[in-house]
């Protein structure tokens, strides 16, 4: 079997993309572009973490927003209560991750024994519970109104924050790539394909599902921390169902079971949201851009269930296969193998 070299085409493309994105803030002085791209990075991280559940392990979770929200609130509250410094911000990311890890571990341990849709319902319920806590614990979270806070001095410059978010994205991407390529990652894919068979091979599938959900929760929390700082404001909307749905949408439109897919999906959706709502000034129908979005979503699920990346790679695979079988058929025509029915339909 071929050992995968580090210099594959996809890795090269990825590096070139990363470099281009790193240069963007130095050549473009459009604040809007910068903010939009930062949002894409943040939601790209969230969507990748969601894909770890949906695309790699086959777990459908409707409660992913709670980890995003935990990260967002942890950072916001700590930056508000203590000084607005980078040190506090870093610590708050770590604390948010830890809280998410603990919560996802226990939730996973208790609920991942359930079959898929029961699990999905339960995650919905638990994230609803967390949302209520965030709403009612007013002394801490200021409830639905939310609160503003000062971002660390370093991030006052949008460009610095942009680069920081990009760096986080790249690091997470590399970690995830390594993770899904490891023996453990292969077992996760096996669980997605056929859980019962994986168990009969001697793998304790519950452990793997818990690991995947802890990892996804931790990374979602990081995305939440970044999100809060990018807005310098936090309220309960960070825990709402919309966040989970966004992540789901990005993953499905981009392509489940790939890492680059959710990133693409995040880009497509953030761009679409930005420009469609921008169009509303001229065409009032776009004030309801979410309707158009719903239609796109339905069409995508019907016609491209594998998403952008999945569909492209499938087409590529079919094309390669066709060339291969064409070559095989050529050799077959020269020597008809025994045991193949001839034209009369009889067996030789």
């Amino acid at each position: 079997m071929k050992r995968q070299s580090i210099f594959t085409t996809s890795n090269t493309v990825f590096c070139v993309m990363a470099v281009i994105l790193a240069i963007v803030p130095f050549v473009s002085d459009s604040r809007t572009t910068l903010i939009l791209l930062t949002q894409i990075f943040i939601f790209g991280i969230l969507a990748m973490s969601y894909d770890m559940l949906l695309g790699y392990t086959g777990i459908v979770s409707f409660g992913h927003a709670m980890f995003f929200g935990i990260g967002a609130y942890t950072s916001a509250i700590m930056l508000n209560m203590y000084e607005s410094t980078m040190a506090i911000f870093t610590i708050s990311i770590a604390v948010g991750m830890l809280l998410s890890a603990v919560l996802s571990f226990f939730v996973g341990l208790l609920t991942l024994r359930l079959k898929s849709h029961y699990y999905a319902m339960l995650t919905l319920a638990i994230s609803g519970l967390v949302l209520v806590v965030a709403e009612k614990w007013r002394t801490m979270t200021k409830g639905n109104d939310g609160f503003t806070f000062r971002a660390p001095e370093f991030f006052r410059d949008r460009m610095m924050f942009y680069l920081f978010a990009l760096a986080c994205l790249i690091v997470i991407y590399i970690i995830f790539k390594r993770f899904v390529g490891s023996p453990l990652g292969r077992v996760l894919i096996a669980v997605r394909e056929n859980e019962q068979r994986t168990a009969s091979l001697g793998y304790k599938t519950l452990h793997y599902k818990v690991i995947a959900s802890v990892l996804a929760g931790v990374v979602a929390s990081l995305a939440g921390s970044l999100y809060a700082v990018s807005l310098r404001f936090v309220n309960t909307s960070v825990m709402s169902m919309d966040i989970t749905l966004d992540a789901l949408l990005m993953t499905i439109i981009g392509g489940v079971g790939t890492l680059i897919g959710p990133l693409l999906g995040a880009a497509v959706i953030e761009f679409a949201q930005h420009y469609l709502s921008g169009l509303a000034r001229d065409y009032p129908i776009f004030e309801r851009w979410i309707i158009i979005f719903g239609i796109i979503y339905i069409l995508a699920v019907i016609f491209f269930p594998r998403g952008i990346v999945g569909t492209l790679s499938q087409k590529l695979g079919e094309w390669k296969m066709k060339r291969k079988t064409a070559a095989v058929e050529e050799t077959f025509q020269k020597v008809p193998p025994p045991g193949i029915a001839d034209e009369s339909g009889e067996w030789k």
Binding site: G181, S182, P183, R186, V187, E193, R197, S200, K204
Partner: protein, 257 residues
């Protein structure tokens, strides 16, 4: 000969229906036992009880003298009870090699390693390829399992079982649904396992003529009960078996007014 697998009064009841009823058998090490019986006799259910997919409602299963009736399927596999499935049960979207590689990985107890890429475990990939050689699937290494023919999927199923390298192999109708041309290849594979290794094999089969020369002993299940257990010769000459299995009872029932 030392007993490796034993069931004592094993049974399972679904509502009022006893799918497996009071089956007591004793299988020595390196023994090749075939299980036959008409459709619905409880053969696969019996397997499910041994492998842990179903929990027995009565009786016990012993593996190497240890009572494993309450153990999960995962634990039983790790102890050394591997099984194949009658309904093809592979990872459809993974390649043939990956299917077997996962089984080898489990055998090598590489479960939670994350720091290295899976292809850097050369030994595992090589092990998987050598097992695929045994079942003659090396020409399909990189094909998704869903695109294999039925016979090839059955071979893959056996390869995954072999890759686990368990002491006891439970083979549930390895030739089910196969065309006649494909059957000899599977039989060769099974014969190869029997000849070359230290394994105890339990085989469910419908085609009686096929297993007569392979088996050390044959047990007959009928309506969940153990009808007979003995050498192939004894089973062939057993009148109850002939009646039950070769259609005697059915014909009588059918011709009844």
């Amino acid at each position: 000969m030392e007993t490796i697998l034993k069931t004592s009064q094993l049974g399972i009841q679904f509502g009022g229906h006893k799918a497996v009823d009071n089956v007591t058998i004793d299988i020595p090490k390196k023994h090749f036992k075939s299980i036959i019986g008409p459709n619905g006799a409880g053969k696969t259910t019996f397997f499910n009880l041994i492998s842990g997919e179903l929990q027995a409602t009565s009786g016990e299963v012993f593996f190497k003298g240890e009572n494993i009736s309450r153990r999960s399927p995962v634990e039983r596999t790790r102890l050394g009870l591997g099984r194949s499935f009658q309904i093809t049960n592979v990872f459809p979207n993974l390649t043939v090699l990956e299917n077997v590689r996962l089984a080898v990985q489990s055998r090598e107890k590489i479960r939670f390693h994350v720091l290295r890429h899976f292809t850097s475990y050369k030994r595992i990939t090589e092990g998987a390829i050598s097992i695929l050689e045994q079942v003659m699937l090396t020409n399909k290494l990189y094909m998704p399992a869903s695109q294999l023919s039925h016979g090839e999927k059955r071979k893959l199923e056996i390869a995954m079982l072999l890759a686990l390298d368990t002491e006891v192999l439970l083979l549930d109708e390895p030739t089910a649904g196969m065309s006649l041309e494909e059957v000899p290849a599977i039989l060769d594979v099974i014969r190869g396992i029997k000849r070359s290794s230290e394994k105890t094999i339990l085989l469910i089969e419908h085609k009686m003529d096929m297993i007569l020369d392979l088996s050390d002993s044959i047990m007959v299940l009928f309506n969940g009960r153990l009808l007979a257990d003995g050498t192939p010769q004894e089973i062939m000459n057993n009148e109850t078996v002939q009646n039950a299995y070769l259609g005697g009872l059915y014909d009588e029932q059918l011709t009844m007014p």
